[in-house]
Symmetry: C2
Subunit: 455 residues, 2 copies
């Protein structure tokens, strides 16, 4: 019997997910704005058979409110500028041929027609390898760039996101696969019976359609989702092909996995229709001791005040700087953004009885994701355990800096996973759906016509 | 003395600008949705030293209101779907190295932060070859995809466009060129004195900034503009590096050229700061007779009712189908969109005493642009005359179908222009600004600092 296979995403967190990673002697600090590096990393990921390249996104300089208030610590936080993800996907499509290309785009500050069109186009350019990570905007800085004084309320953002998804998915069905005849003899360009107006009239959107892009090579782009709050889980169960999540504990991860998959049935979906992929940050050594030394070396590059500034992104509502560094982590008021990440941080702090500084340094190192410090065998053991215990379908690999940790995971851990028979040795197909083992969704109108014909 | 050099744009109007062009036996009708063709055409354009690839854009299926009303003639109009232009630019940047990459994006249904970011990113990906064609949306179909029942008023669209440009240009100055230090020793990532908040508070937009993309390789993307109405000309004089326009008559083109350039001074700009490029559609034969036969062959592929449906896009407010085909072109009520194109059509009809059908067939053939039917020498004569008589700085080459007419112009007319010494034989530089002969704009804050230091 074939073993369950794990999926791997390369999470491109340039110049590094660890906030001091770029200061490492091996780090290329310029990876944030140099597309040549983005492409080399994508090609490396494809060479090592990752399922996807994945881009997070923020439509603001994170921490700019604090900068505006004069907090100079922020000038030492590295993730300030980067390239816009959808443009990167399109460009990467040309330099790669198999890997999936997934980017985040917010439902809070975009229009669904524009998003449906752009991702659909990238699916055409890449011959069916595109994915859209549907999010609601998480930080207050973003609102200020889009005509708002304060951030949109969490519940309202999710309400808009659900309707946004319905519009995008509807627009993706505007044209049936065989709608375009391009018949030179008759002069008929398309079959009007296979063109469909959406005529959506909802609370947030009025969108007539049709989309001005034809049906894509994999039916429609893959949809990923990254929210882990209650409405986030519900939206994922309803809409997502892939779920990215931050999980640090096996039991909590198993609970999340079962909960999200358990919600799919009421939307007419199966457990296999959704792939759950927690993030992991590997720190790899030939021995456990060498790995720990590497991690300690990184942490030594991180000043305490920078760590605290990084934590402050998740602690709105209290002045984190006014608490004693070596005292307990203070309680936080209920958040309007990044709710689930905030809860994860508090749970970690309480469970491990951590000081404020310890929490800050941990968040700066991994942004709430699981850090795996050890040998390739140890890391493979951990991934295999989570896979076999139904805590994950795969993992998003997040690197502390580039390119060395990414090379290490690719050349040391992936071969170990392959030896164990839990990771591919060649791509299964050419489209992202084929490689992830996802069904090609049928156009709703084609399905209706088929159902009618069968009657 | 070196002769004045003309600029050439390749206007990618897939599957063909002539509405029946795709029916020609030589035409590849699938060029509209096949990115492989987009890339081949871009590479061909670069091989023949064009300044730019240029994409028009519409955020709707044009004519979908008529389709919704049951007008089946529209199923024979070919320009229904195509790939989203900015994704295409990003992808083309990877397969080319010198040609400029220019795409249209509307100010009516986008947010300035998103546009500033995307074009700035493509400028990074292409190492300084990107341009943004700033337009206001032209057709009613677009409004229906963006929450509106009727199209935004012409004056209001221009008012928004002007403010949109100010925000985008402001965001492009968020970071001075040397803002990022990435200093591993000190741990300082950027120089806060070289980061700037925009803090824009206007009628249409409130945008704080800064943009989360650093200054681009050519300072900022080139800005093109395509409106020719009164507010369109004013906006162009104020904002545009390049102006695309439809001009069919030498005298009118000279008037437009002098008028737009004449308006630049009050914005502190010079005549050379703006390049004016009318569209031309070439039909090339070895003899004048052969060229005319080719044109007649294309026109024979165009049914009268399809021609009329094409004209109907420009005749809102009257039922064009109720007028006699062979009677005079009826007068039109004042338009809310494509104002200058509509005026061009009416002027042409009156000047040449054309019937409704003749006007419809002419519009279907060239969408109001100038058709040049003749030998390579004849076409070169015409281009040279317009260049020397200050009617144009260059031309946007628009093809009836692909790829043959594009190959013909590239291999027959361009060498003739080169023999005459009015077109380059090698690219002057690597960035679009270098090739167009445009200055690199200085960051406003860098300029202020320099001015202060000089005092």
């Amino acid at each position: 019997m074939t073993k369950k296979q794990l999926k791997l995403g390369a999470f491109l967190s340039v110049p590094g997910n660890h906030l001091a990673g770029w200061r490492h002697p091996d780090a290329v600090a310029e990876t944030d704005m140099d597309f040549g590096w983005y492409m080399r990393l994508a090609q490396m990921a494809e060479k090592h058979l990752y399922d996807t390249i994945f881009f997070q996104d923020t439509v603001a300089v994170a921490g700019s409110d604090a900068l505006k208030a004069g907090d100079m610590t922020r000038t030492r936080l590295s993730r300030i500028v980067k390239l816009e993800p959808t443009a990167c996907l399109a460009a990467m499509a040309v330099g790669t041929s198999h890997i999936g290309l997934v980017a985040t785009a917010t439902t809070t500050f975009n229009e669904p027609y524009n998003i449906a069109r752009r991702f659909s186009t990238i699916d055409h350019i890449s011959n069916g390898r595109c994915g859209w990570n549907l999010v609601t905007s998480q930080i207050e800085d973003e609102a200020a760039n889009f005509n708002l004084d304060t951030h949109v309320d969490h519940a309202a953002r999710y309400e808009r996101a659900i309707e946004f998804y319905e519009v995008v998915a509807g627009l993706w069905d505007s044209w049936e696969a065989d709608a375009f005849l391009r018949d030179k003899d008759s002069g008929v360009w398309f079959d009007v019976d296979k063109m469909h107006f959406l005529d959506h009239h909802g609370k947030h959107f009025h969108v007539r359609g049709p989309l001005n892009v034809s049906r894509t090579p994999q039916g429609r782009p893959v949809v990923a989702q990254a929210g882990s709050s209650e409405p986030g889980r519900e939206l994922a169960a309803r809409t997502a092909d892939v779920v990215f999540t931050a999980q640090t504990e096996l039991e909590a991860a198993r609970e999340f996995f079962a909960d999200v998959k358990g919600r799919t049935a009421k939307y007419g979906r199966t457990l296999d229709d959704i792939k759950i992929m927690p993030g992991i940050t590997p720190v790899i050594g030939r021995t456990m001791e060498e790995a720990q030394e590497k991690y300690d070396q990184l942490q030594a590059l991180l000043p305490d005040d920078v760590a605290l500034a990084a934590l402050a992104r998740f602690t709105r509502g209290i002045d984190i700087f006014s608490y004693p560094l070596h005292g307990p982590m203070p309680d936080l008021p209920e958040a309007n953004s990044a709710k689930s990440r905030q809860k994860l941080i508090m749970d970690m702090a309480k469970k491990n009885n951590m000081t404020l500084l310890q929490v800050a340094r941990s968040v700066s190192a991994a942004q709430g994701h699981r850090v795996l410090v050890g040998t390739p065998e140890y890391i493979a053991d951990e991934l295999q355990e989570w896979l076999e215990k139904d805590a994950a379908d795969g993992f998003n690999v997040i690197c502390n800096y580039y390119p060395k940790p990414f090379e290490d995971f690719s050349t040391l851990v992936i071969p170990e996973l392959q030896r164990r028979g839990i990771f591919r040795t060649a791509y299964e197909g050419r489209t992202l759906r084929e490689n992830l083992g996802l069904r090609v969704p049928e156009n709703r109108y084609t399905a209706a016509r088929r159902a009618q014909a069968a009657d």
